[in-house]
């Protein structure tokens, strides 16, 4: 369970990223976060992975208070929350397999275990056949699937996706969203930040609308409310 209590984030010197956010996200939920540019969506994502610290308020993830999480504990948080960003962040000189394995290597997982896990997650995202390719030899959608595979290696309880489809066409977007739904069906909480009206409306799941750093709407089976 993720809870935010009266969370505010003020960037230096005086930019209000988020103001007084109160949210609860239950395990297994699929939540879309929408809002206009500058509304604070990425700020929210960064707070959840402790890339930024809240100025005020309290953030709990699975009973763990990460409000003032010390730097040495951040890596453990990152292994519990898979992260996907719009710019894929794959290493160009590593193959698909190596990119995914990398996330396990840096966490000190033994090589034998890595050889088990990587094919499994590549199969989940449907890229087991293309494990030996380099990122430049993949389509945008496939690249994003590699990122998703990489975010899954630690079996995270939460998957955080900040505009994962921002660079993709409709078909690839469809594929990625279906993949996220599949992962959610396995029990993983998914938080999806998106600008895509069709995606949000077709999901028929909870939608949180941010506006100027505040929660403007929060509906269990929500719709994309913003003017386009």
């Amino acid at each position: 369970m993720i809870t935010l209590e009266n969370v505010s984030k003020i960037y230096y010197p005086n930019v209000h990223g988020l103001t007084n956010i109160n949210l609860t996200i239950q395990p297994g939920e699929f939540v879309s976060v929408v809002g206009q540019s500058g509304a604070g969506k990425t700020t929210l994502a960064k707070l959840l992975i402790a890339e930024e610290r809240p100025t005020r308020g309290k953030i709990m993830i699975g009973g763990w208070d990460i409000t003032k999480i010390p730097a040495r504990d951040v890596p453990f948080l990152r292994r519990q929350i898979g992260v996907i960003f719009q710019d894929f962040k794959l290493l160009p000189q590593k193959t698909v397999y190596e990119n995914v394995a990398f996330a396990l290597e840096v966490a000190g997982i033994p090589s034998r275990r890595i050889r088990e896990v990587v094919p499994q997650v590549l199969k989940i995202v449907g890229l087991d056949e293309k494990a030996a390719r380099f990122p430049r030899q993949l389509s945008g959608g496939e690249q994003q699937r590699v990122v998703i595979a990489r975010s899954l290696v630690h079996r995270p309880r939460v998957l955080l996706a900040d505009e994962p489809t921002g660079n993709l066409d409709t078909i690839n977007t469809r594929e990625i969203i279906e993949l996220l739904q599949k992962i959610n069906a396995f029990g993983t909480t998914v938080v999806l930040v998106t600008h895509n009206r069709e995606v949000v409306n077709s999901l028929r799941r909870r939608v949180i609308t941010l506006s100027c750093g505040q929660v403007a709407a929060d509906h269990a089976e929500g719709k994309y409310l913003l003017p386009s």
């Binding site: 730097a71 890596p75 990152r78 996330a103 840096v106 000190g108 975010s151």
Partner: protein, 306 residues
């Protein structure tokens, strides 16, 4: 989490950083070698100077010339008395006969002196007592002790040269070399630290994507940092190896060529660096690796703050 698996991955990563920026790495090694060389050149010069002082000090002695015809017993008594003093390291007697023989040998080519000697029907030379003190500062005392009524009547003259001018000059040079050397070492050490800092920053810059991803997927700070620190240590060890070879070769080359300045066969550099080599390598390598590791650690540090 297996320590062994991690160590291996960290070493592999460090090696990769090193080889990716090979030219930069080599330049850094070059600067590190310069600073190590400055230390060793100073050490070498110190060895030369202290060997020179020791050799000069070895030459100091008091020669006591006895009157000719002085009975052997008086000379032996003087020797016995002087040897019994704790300040005396060594006292040897050159008998009158031996002194004459030496004198003849020395002037064998000079017919005038030889014929003058032939005219004499007895040995014009007396015995000589050569006294060496344990410490150069003991000589004034020894000269005083020679004024002993038991034998001072038989003494013709005393000859004492303390070489103090030369020794003091060498000591002065030695001091200036040390001051100058210390400044040089400090400057090179500072350069080394800055250059290593910069090298690691560049290494971080070329790896920035990888570091970003590492942090995103949950690599611990230590895991991100260690390869860079290790890279610094690689650089230091590499520099140490190059310096060791250079210093030893230089010593082998220079030693016999400086022999002329020393009465012995060589200047004692090879002997010094052979005897102290491991200890020096350990100390210099240790200090350098420590400094470099610290510098690398600091260089990554800024990147990890967040």
């Amino acid at each position: 989490m297996s320590l062994f698996v991690n160590s291996w991955r960290i070493i592999a990563a460090a090696w990769k950083h090193f080889s990716r920026n090979l030219w930069l790495a080599l330049t850094t090694v070059f600067v590190l070698v310069l600073s190590l060389l400055s230390v060793n050149v100073l050490l070498g010069v110190n060895v030369l100077l202290s060997n020179a002082v020791r050799q000069l000090e070895d030459k100091i002695d008091v020669s006591v010339y006895f009157k000719s015809e002085t009975p052997v017993a008086v000379v032996e008594q003087a020797k016995f008395f002087m040897t019994s003093l704790p300040q005396v390291k060594d006292a040897t007697v050159v008998t009158a006969e031996k002194a004459l023989e030496d004198f003849k040998k020395l002037h064998a080519d000079d017919p005038k002196i030889m014929s003058a000697l032939a005219e004499l029907d007895q040995n014009p030379l007396g015995a000589v007592l050569i006294i060496k003190a344990r410490q150069t500062t003991d000589y004034p005392f020894l000269l005083e002790a020679l004024n002993n009524p038991q034998f001072d009547f038989a003494i013709e003259s005393k000859n004492y040269d303390d070489h103090s001018d030369t020794i003091n000059r060498v000591r002065d040079i030695s001091r200036s070399v040390q001051v100058f050397g210390a400044v040089l070492i400090a400057v090179f050490a500072l350069f080394s630290i800055l250059i290593v800092f910069n090298t690691i920053r560049v290494a971080i810059y070329t790896q920035r994507e990888e570091i970003g991803i590492m942090r995103l997927v949950g690599a611990s700070n230590a895991f991100v940092r260690s390869p860079f620190v290790l890279e610094g240590v690689f650089l230091a060890l590499f520099a140490l190896g190059v310096t060791s070879v250079a210093v030893y070769s230089a010593a082998v080359y220079v030693d016999p060529r400086l022999g002329g300045m020393f009465d012995g066969a060589n200047a004692g550099l090879v002997a010094y660096f052979t005897a102290e080599g491991w200890r020096l390598a350990l100390i210099e390598g240790g200090v350098l690796a420590g400094l470099v590791a610290l510098s690398s650690w600091a260089a990554v540090g800024k990147y990890l703050k967040k």
